[in-house]
Symmetry: C2
Subunit: 679 residues, 2 copies
C-alpha cells in the first residue's frame, strides 16, 4: 500500500472509531456497514464529492444517499467530519430520544441527509429519482456557459438493497434512460442478517447490471483507495449509470467480528472495541479525533469555494437570463407557482358558472392537472404504464425519453414501487413536484415509498384511479376496497377523493401548496355532475362540509354523506328523499384526513352526532365510525369485489339510488321517522 493509501486509511479509521464508539455508548446500532464502507466513503467524500458543509441546501451540490441506512453511523460520521452542523455530542446521542442522529438517517432531522433511508432498496431508487431530476432541471435551466444544474448523484447500497425488487425496477429504468451522472456503489460484503448470502443470493450482480445497460466496474477492492479512486474516475467518464462493485469486509478492523454477521447489527462490545482500536492503530479515546485527522476531513473551506464559484456563475446567469434565474430560485425554494393561484381562482369561477358535467372523476382531475402543468412547470407527471387509462397523460404532457429529458412526463413502466420512490427522489432533490399514477389497488405495491414521502414531508402527488368496485369487469384483483382506508391511515398523508370537478380543482391546489404528500383517488367510471354554490371552493379546503341543506330552511331529519363517485349518488338519493318530504342534508368529505383535523365543533356542525346519518363510500367501512354517533349506517365494501360490468357490481353491493334511499328510510324509521310527513 502506498503512503497515500496509508493516509486514507487513517482518515477512514476515524469513521470506524466514531461508529464503534457511538454504537457502544448507546448500546444499540449497526457498526458493520460503516466500518466496511469507510475506505470507500473517505475517497468519495475527500476526493470527489462536490458539496458545501456550510450550506446543505446549495442547489448544485452532489447528492449523496446511503441506501443501506442501518449503517447510519457512516453518514453521521461523514457529516460530522466534513464539517456539517453536527457535533460530537450529537454522535454521542446516536439513537437517543430527540437526537439528531436517529437509528436510520432521516431527512429533516440531520443537516446533509438528503433522504430518509432504512427500508431497504428505497434509497437506491430515490437516488435514481434525484439523478433524473438533475437531468430534467439541467435541460430546463442550463444555458451556454451556464451549467447551473450539473452534479452527480452517489448512492451506497448493500446486498439487502439489491435483493429488494425495487432495486431492479429503478435500475432498469435508470439504464434505459441513460442516467449517466448516477454512480452507485455496491457494498459486496457477502453478509446479510441471516449470515453468508450464498445460500439465498448468488446473483452475478455485475452481469445483472450490465444487462440493464449500466456501466459496471467489477471486483474493486473496497479497502484500496487507489482502486476506489480509479473506479470513481471511470464512473465519471461513463455515458451510462455506473455500478461500482466493491468487495468489502463488514466490520473491517474488528479482529474477531469482521467478515461476520455479528458485526452487523449489535455493538461490538467493550473488549472487541479495544481490540479493534489496537488492530487499526487508533490510539485515541472514544469520540476523540486527532488534529491531523480533523484537518484531513474538514471540507468547509473547499465547499465554500465550490459554492462561491457556482454563485458567481449564477450571478452572471441572472444577468443574462434574469427570468430563468428567478424561476430557478423559486423552484429550488419550493415556492408554489404564482400562476397557480390565479388559475385556481379563474377555474373555480368558471366551474361555478356553468352546470356540472357528467364525467368520470379521473377525467375531471386530468383536465385540471393539465391546466396546472401549464401554469406550474415544476410539475412532472408520470405513470406506471397506465398513462392513458389513468389519464395521467394530459394535454400538457411531453414524454421524457432516453437521451431526451426535456419533457415533463415519465413513463415509469410497470414499476409502481420504483415510481413512488423516484418521485420522492425528485421531490427531495428540489425544483420539481412529481405526480405519478397507477390504479388504486396497486398502491399496495408501493406503500412503503408513500410512507417515506409522508415521513419526509415531500411534496408529491400520488394519483390513484380505478378507485373502487366500479372498475367492473377486471374483477377483484383490480377492484380496491381496503386501499383507501389503508392510505388514510398513513400519518401526515393527505388523501383526496374528490366528488366533483370543483373538488378536484381544490384537491390539486391544496396538494401543490402542501408541505407533504397527497393522494388523488379517482373513479374510473362516469358519474353525474355535482353542482356547487359560490363559496364551496373554500369549504372544500376543510376536507368535509355541508354541500346542501333542505331548501326550505327546515332542520334536516337525516344526513347523507358521500365521497368521490358516491357523492353524486348521495345527491340523487337525497333528491328522491326530499321529493318524499324528508329533510336531507348532503355532506361531502373529499378529504377525510383533513376533516379529521378540524375542530370537534366544526366536525359536529357538519355531521351532528344526534342526526341519523348514512355514509356512502365504495370502500372499507370501519373508517367512518370515528365521525358518527350511534344513529348511523355505513354503506361500504367490506369484501372482495366481482368481475362484471361496473354498474352491475355497484348495484350488487348496494350502491344505487334505490338502495341508498331505502337504507335512509329504514334508518329514519328506526329513529322515529322524519319530522315532515311524506309528500
Amino acid at each position: 500500500m502506498t503512503a497515500q493509501a496509508r493516509d486514507h486509511r487513517r482518515l477512514a479509521n476515524a469513521i470506524r472509531a466514531l461508529t464503534m464508539d457511538a454504537v457502544q455508548a448507546n448500546n444499540s446500532g449497526h457498526p458493520g456497514t460503516a466500518m466496511g464502507m469507510a475506505d470507500i466513503a473517505e475517497v468519495l467524500w475527500n476526493d470527489f464529492l462536490r458539496h458545501n458543509p456550510g450550506d446543505p441546501d446549495w442547489p448544485n451540490r452532489d447528492r449523496f444517499v446511503q441506501s443501506n441506512g442501518h449503517g447510519s453511523m457512516l453518514i453521521y460520521s461523514l457529516l460530522y467530519l466534513a464539517g456539517y452542523d453536527l457535533s460530537l455530542d450529537d454522535l454521542r446521542r446516536h439513537r437517543q430520544f430527540g437526537s439528531r442522529t436517529p437509528g436510520h438517517p432521516e431527512r429533516g432531522i440531520t443537516p446533509g441527509v438528503e433522504t430518509t433511508t432504512g427500508p431497504l432498496g428505497q434509497g437506491f431508487a430515490t437516488a435514481i429519482g434525484m439523478a433524473l431530476a438533475e437531468r430534467r432541471l439541467a435541460e430546463e435551466f442550463n444555458r451556454d456557459g451556464f451549467p447551473v444544474v450539473d452534479h452527480f448523484t452517489y448512492v451506497f447500497a448493500g446486498d439487502g438493497c439489491l435483493m429488494e425488487g425495487i432495486s431492479q425496477e429503478a435500475a432498469s429504468l435508470a439504464g434505459t434512460l441513460g442516467l449517466s451522472k448516477l454512480i452507485a456503489v455496491y457494498d459486496d460484503n457477502n453478509i446479510s442478517i441471516d449470515g453468508e448470502v450464498g445460500d439465498w443470493f448468488a446473483d452475478d450482480t455485475a452481469a445483472r447490471f450490465r444487462s440493464l445497460n449500466w456501466n459496471v466496474i467489477a471486483e474493486v477492492d473496497g479497502h484500496d483507495p487507489v482502486a476506489i479512486r480509479a473506479a470513481f474516475e471511470a464512473a465519471h467518464a461513463s455515458d451510462r449509470p455506473t455500478l461500482i462493485c466493491c468487495k468489502t469486509i463488514i466490520g473491517f478492523g474488528s479482529p474477531n467480528k469482521q467478515g461476520k454477521e455479528e458485526s452487523h447489527g449489535a455493538p461490538l462490545g467493550a473488549k472487541e472495541v479495544a481490540l479493534t482500536r489496537e488492530a487499526l492503530g487508533w490510539d485515541y479515546p472514544p469520540f476523540e479525533i486527532p488534529g491531523d485527522v480533523v484537518a484531513g476531513w474538514d471540507g468547509r473551506e473547499k465547499g465554500a469555494r465550490m459554492q462561491a464559484e457556482w454563485e458567481r456563475m449564477f450571478a452572471a446567469y441572472g444577468k443574462s437570463h434574469p427570468e430563468l434565474a428567478a424561476e430557478f430560485r423559486r423552484r429550488m425554494k419550493g415556492e408554489p407557482s404564482p400562476a397557480l393561484a390565479k388559475l385556481v381562482k379563474e377555474e373555480a369561477a368558471a366551474i361555478l358558472g356553468k352546470p356540472a358535467e357528467d364525467q368520470p372523476l379521473r377525467k375531471a382531475s386530468s383536465r385540471i392537472a393539465g391546466l396546472m402543468t401549464k401554469a406550474a412547470p415544476e410539475l412532472v407527471g408520470g405513470s406506471a404504464d397506465l398513462s392513458q387509462s389513468t389519464l395521467a397523460w394530459t394535454q400538457a404532457s411531453r414524454s421524457i425519453r432516453p437521451g431526451d429529458f426535456s419533457g415533463n412526463f415519465v413513463h415509469y413502466g410497470v414499476r409502481e414501487f420504483a415510481m413512488s420512490a423516484m418521485m420522492n427522489g425528485m421531490a427531495a432533490h428540489g425544483g420539481l413536484v412529481p405526480s405519478g399514477a397507477t390504479y388504486l389497488v396497486f398502491s399496495d405495491y408501493s406503500r412503503n415509498a408513500v410512507r417515506l414521502a409522508a415521513l419526509m414531508k415531500l411534496r408529491a402527488v400520488f394519483v390513484y384511479t380505478h378507485d373502487s368496485i366500479g372498475v367492473g369487469e377486471d374483477g377483484p384483483t383490480h377492484q380496491p376496497s381496503e386501499q383507501l382506508v389503508a392510505l388514510r391511515a398513513i400519518p401526515d398523508f393527505s388523501v383526496w377523493r374528490p366528488g366533483s370537478e370543483l373538488e378536484a380543482l381544490i384537491a390539486w391546489d391544496e396538494s401543490l401548496r402542501r408541505e407533504g404528500p397527497s393522494a388523488m383517488v379517482l373513479a374510473r367510471q362516469g358519474s353525474k355532475g355535482v353542482d356547487h354554490r359560490p363559496g364551496d371552493d373554500e369549504k372544500i379546503r376543510k376536507g368535509g362540509y355541508v354541500l346542501s341543506d333542505p331548501e326550505n330552511g327546515a332542520a334536516p331529519d337525516l344526513v347523507l354523506a358521500g365521497t368521490g363517485s358516491e357523492l353524486s349518488l348521495v345527491r340523487q338519493a337525497a333528491a328522491r328523499l326530499e321529493a318524499e318530504g324528508v329533510a336531507v342534508r348532503v355532506v361531502s368529505v373529499p378529504n377525510a384526513n383533513v376533516f379529521a383535523r378540524q375542530s370537534g365543533d366544526y366536525r359536529s356542525s357538519v355531521l351532528p352526532r344526534h342526526l341519523p346519518t348514512i355514509v356512502v363510500e365504495a370502500a372499507c367501512s370501519f373508517y367512518w365510525y370515528q365521525f358518527l354517533g350511534e344513529r348511523r349506517r355505513i354503506i361500504g365494501v367490506d369484501r372482495f369485489g366481482e368481475s362484471a360490468p361496473g354498474p352491475e357490481v355497484f348495484s350488487h353491493f348496494g350502491f344505487t339510488v334505490d338502495a341508498v334511499a331505502e337504507a335512509a328510510r329504514n334508518l329514519l324509521a328506526e329513529n322515529g321517522g322524519a319530522t315532515a310527513a311524506p309528500a
Copy 2:
C-alpha cells in the same frame, strides 16, 4: 413451415378465435396476449403438459400459471379445449357477473386455474413457490421407484411481469436454489400499455436471467412450433430453472392491430374480428370449434391415462410405504395434522398450570411455532433475512439450501414480496403450510401478495414481529403504526395480535385450521406475563373476550381493553385502579377481525356500549370506534414514531401504567365517576 407446424397453427387459432369472440361478445377484455401466446401454449399443452382435465386436483399434475393474467382468455380457452369442466357458455359469459371466466383468472372459480393472477409479477413468483413445494415434497415423499411427486411448473410471463421488482426477487432466489423443474416463458412482444417498451424497458432479459443462474433459451420464435418444442425439450434437460424468451406478435393474426398496443386491452371490433378470421383462415362462426380441432385438443383420455399410471404407482407405494402414503394423502387434502389437536390441548393445560412468564411475545409465539412444526411436518417456515430477530427460526428449523430441499425453513433473503407470493405458491400447490416472517412495518412491501392469499383463501401464516413503536432505537422507518389497521382491512384476512402465550397458542392453532391466511403480529420487546383462567383458551377463539371482571363480583365501572403487548399494560393499570376502588373489567382482543364477526349481542356483552371504555393499542386508533359507544378513549399511535430506547418511546406516547390509569380516572370523572368510592 412443416405440415406439423401447420396443424399446430390451426389448433392455436382456436384459442385466437375463442379469445376474440369472448372479448367481443362481452365488449370487454384483453385479446392481445392470448392471441400472441397461442402457438406457445398449444405446443406446451399438447406436447408437454402432464395434467388430467378430468381431475384438476391430481396431486402430481404439472402446474401451469399464467402470470400475465389480463390475457385470461388464453387459459380459459386452453382449459375449455383440453376438456376441463368449462363450457362454451362459460366462455361466452367472460367477465360477466357470477361467471366462471372472470376478468382475471381466479383460483377457486375456474377448474384448472392454479392461482389468481392479474397483479403483475405475482403469478411468476407464485409459480416459483410451487416449484419449491414440488422439490420439498419430492424430498419428503419420494422413495426408490416411487417418484410420487415429480412434476414441472410452467409459468407464462409478459413484459409487465418482468418489469415488476417481484420478478427479480423470485427469479434470484429460484436461480440460487436451483429450481430446475421451473420453466418460465417470456412473452417478448415489445408492447406494454404505454406502447413500444423501448423507452422504458430496454433490459437484455436473457443476460439478466443468466446472471441469476438461470438456463436461458433466447430468441425463440414464439410462432414457430418446431422452435418452441425444441426450447421446451432443452428446458426439461436443464439443471437450472429455465427462461424461454419467445419473440411474439401481440394480437397475432389481426391485420390492423397486431404488434400494437391497440390489441392489448380492448375488443378488436367486429370488423377487425372478421378480418382476423380471414387472415387466420378460420371460417367458423363465433364460439364454434370444428371437430378436428376439438379432437386435436382433447386431453382427457391422455390425462386420465397419465393419472391412472400414477395412481397405480401410488397404490404400490401405499403397500410398501403405508404411512408415507397416508401422510401424503392427508397433506394434499389439506387436513390439519391430528397431532396438533393433542398438542394444543396439552400445551393449553401446561400454560394454564403455571404462572405466566415475562417475555417478548415474539418469543412466546416462536416456542409454539417450534412445537407445532414438530407435530405438523407440513409447516415450512421462513423469513426475509430476519430469521433470528423475528425468531422465525425455531428449535425445529432446518434450512432449505441450494441442492438440499430436505429442510423446513426457507431463507428468502431480503425479499418480503417474493416471500409472500412464494408462500402463496406453496400453499396453492398443496401439501405444505408456509409461514414467513418479517418486521410488521415491511408488510407494506408485500401487501398485494397477502391480499391475493386472502382472495384465494390460502392457508398461510404471515408472521410480523417488531410490531409497534416498542421497536425503539431503529426509529420511525422501522416502527409500524398504520400497518395493523391496514392488514385488518384486508377482507377475509385473519389478523392475530396475541397478548399472552396462551393467546399465541390459540392463534397458531386457529391459523393452521383456517381455510385462508392469517397474520401473527408480535412485539419485539418483553412484556409481563398475563395469567389466564381455565376456559380462556376457548374464549380466545372468539377474537375478543372478558379476561377479568372485578373480583368481588361488582358490576364494572370501566372497561380497559388491550391487544398484544398492551394487554399486560392494561392488566397492570387495572390492578392499580382496582386498588383505588374502581371496578374494572379487562378485555383482550387478540383478533379484532374475528371479534368483529361475532354476533352484536356477544360483542356488546364483552364491550357494553354504555360503559366508559379505554382501548390501548400501540397502533393507528380509528379502527376501534366501530366497537365502542360514546364513552370512550383510545390510546393509540396516530403519527410516526421516534428513535429512542423502546421504553422511552412508549412512555412518550402515553403507554405507561401511570398514563393509562390517569386516562381512566379522567374518563370516569367525565362520566360521573366510579360507583365505588376510592379506597
